[in-house]
Symmetry: C2
Subunit: 341 residues, 2 copies
């Protein structure tokens, strides 16, 4: 199926759940085709806007293209795109800011309306509906569960050997929920593949487009000093006995400063090798894994520069032993975060 054929299935006012958490693993071909379709419909004088739900922010070919085509009816739970922000501020697009870990439950409850399509990027798909995801999980598993139909972008830039990187686990909703049995960053509690009803797969679009992750700025004097200060503070707390001798898992934010802080933590001789329970794995984590400073990283997305992703794919077995990508319902869940420290 072509992306335009896939886009032709989607009707005005449909609500679509897209893969992606940051540009990592975000759908690209189909949203771009939906934007083209919206432009054509508008030129013919017809309404065409869809509800856009994803894991978090996405890349330009999703949030940017759809916003510039005036094709976004509403958007949740989070975005950071220039064009989309303008549409939201003009009141053209409704936006609801939501805690990322509660989005999947709200989608299952139907609070976002009926999700008609799940559009996702995959590294591999089997005939019986087992999908290997790419560089993020986000809320893709939930969207596939609640959607009537599933459209897949099979992206050949990502090797099928990503099988084993992901841990797909979805808790039952209250009042049937049990504990989320993650006790260390590296615990695996689910399945390496996303299992969907193969009858719901409406089409597969082949592509080779890279994640739209920009390169990080090099650490400068200011961010280096921030990183230095945070690392020294934590090292001092460790020496004072207020952090256990084994250190505790780190949750880092996203961006140039978080990148600099992680670098400084890795370089500080008073901080032992540590693990991460975070939502995003960034560039600096990879270098620290290679030199053994980071022993394990759990996240929902692998948001790294193109050249770093190439490095990872060139040594995939090494990195698969040291990272896991989880649904954002687990990576960002207060239960696990409070438990780990």
């Amino acid at each position: 199926m072509t992306a335009d054929e896939a886009a032709a299935l989607i009707q005005n006012a449909d609500i679509v759940g897209f893969s992606g958490f940051t540009p990592a693993g975000a759908a690209k071909e189909i949203p771009t085709a939906i934007a083209r379709r919206a432009t054509a419909e508008h030129a013919d004088g017809r309404d065409f806007k869809i509800g856009v739900v994803t894991g978090a922010s996405t890349g330009d070919s999703l949030d940017g293209e759809l916003a510039r085509a005036h094709a976004v009816l509403f958007r949740t739970p989070y975005q950071s795109d220039h064009s989309l922000r303008a549409a939201i501020n003009k009141g053209e697009t409704k936006f609801f800011d939501m805690h990322l870990s509660v989005l999947p439950q709200q989608a299952r409850y139907g609070f976002l309306g009926k999700i008609k399509y799940a559009v996702l990027e995959a590294a591999a798909v089997s005939d019986d509906g087992e999908i290997v995801l790419t560089t993020s999980v986000g809320a893709t598993n939930t969207f596939c569960g609640v959607a009537d139909q599933i459209l897949i972008e099979l992206n050949q830039r990502h090797p099928a050997e990503l099988h084993g990187l992901h841990d797909i686990y979805q808790p039952l909703d209250p009042p049937h929920r049990r504990e989320i049995p993650v006790y260390t960053c590296s615990d695996r509690i689910g399945s390496p593949t996303l299992k969907v009803d193969p009858a719901k797969i409406a089409g597969i679009v082949l592509t080779n487009r890279a994640d739209e992750v920009g390169s990080f700025k090099e650490t400068d004097a200011v961010t280096a000093q921030i990183g230095e200060n945070v690392a020294r503070f934590l090292a001092d707390e460790l020496i004072a006995g207020r952090i256990p001798p084994g250190f505790l898992p780190v949750q880092s934010g996203v961006g140039n400063i978080a990148n600099a802080v992680l670098g400084a933590l890795g370089a500080n001789p008073n901080i032992p090798p540590f693990s991460m329970y975070s939502e995003v794995i960034q560039d600096s984590v990879i270098g620290l894994m290679q030199c053994g400073e980071i022993t394990f990283a759990s996240a929902t997305s692998l948001t790294v520069s193109p050249s770093i992703l190439d490095e990872i794919y060139a040594d995939l077995e090494f990195f698969k032993q040291r990272m896991v990508l989880r649904p954002q319902e687990i990576s960002n869940h207060s239960e696990v975060v409070r438990r780990l420290g």
Copy 2:
């Protein structure tokens, strides 16, 4: 020991952890005596101020008396006393507002400084250090664990038959924490008594003073309408299938409006009997338990009017089967709240 003898043990700048979550179960005799002591010390030209840590707000004989005696160096995690608020706003008392469920862990970590004394109200104390608490748990268990010494107000207004009302459970700190195994409001996971090292008990003060809980205002036309609206909204959600047929546990706030809402929920024929996972059990819960509309209530304090408390104590076996008081670390924990719904 008299309260003044107990107060004489406490020195300027000591940090004291008091029982109490709202006025329920708050220490009364010893804080009042500490306030007297502070006034006398100040009259003699000496400094005398203590750090005051409790579960939440307390009664006038704790926060009010100590504030008016200019005896509070700092206060955390929450207060609602008129005199203390004035001292905080003047800068005389330092105040830190903290999520109530994280306070115990921060006390164990030492982030509040060294807690020298735990001062608590008890309904019974055994020779081997098993304590039956009164109308709240709050952070009392943690204060007893971290304090050097323990001072007890044995309050004969509360029957020793309260044994079995409480469920004392304290999780291990990260990285050793496991799940908190509460899956329904009525699950009991700990001990009915608070077990302390008997060697740490520095004294016991006998008292008979009632909790300083004011009576609620009667529901008026406005609060009744608010209650009515909330109950109708929830009943409609139930009918629409967005709340499971068995309903979900309710978490109510504190005050006249929460009281009115609970009353309206109980009176609405479309809402089935329900359970509560909350921090405070208020007056209206008791009537709804008697008529079977509330099947179980879990909280950290029983903050009811004096006449309602008499009613509960007159039929204690009935109510002990329908309520549990937990440490605030459990009643207010995001893990359990997210799990229950």
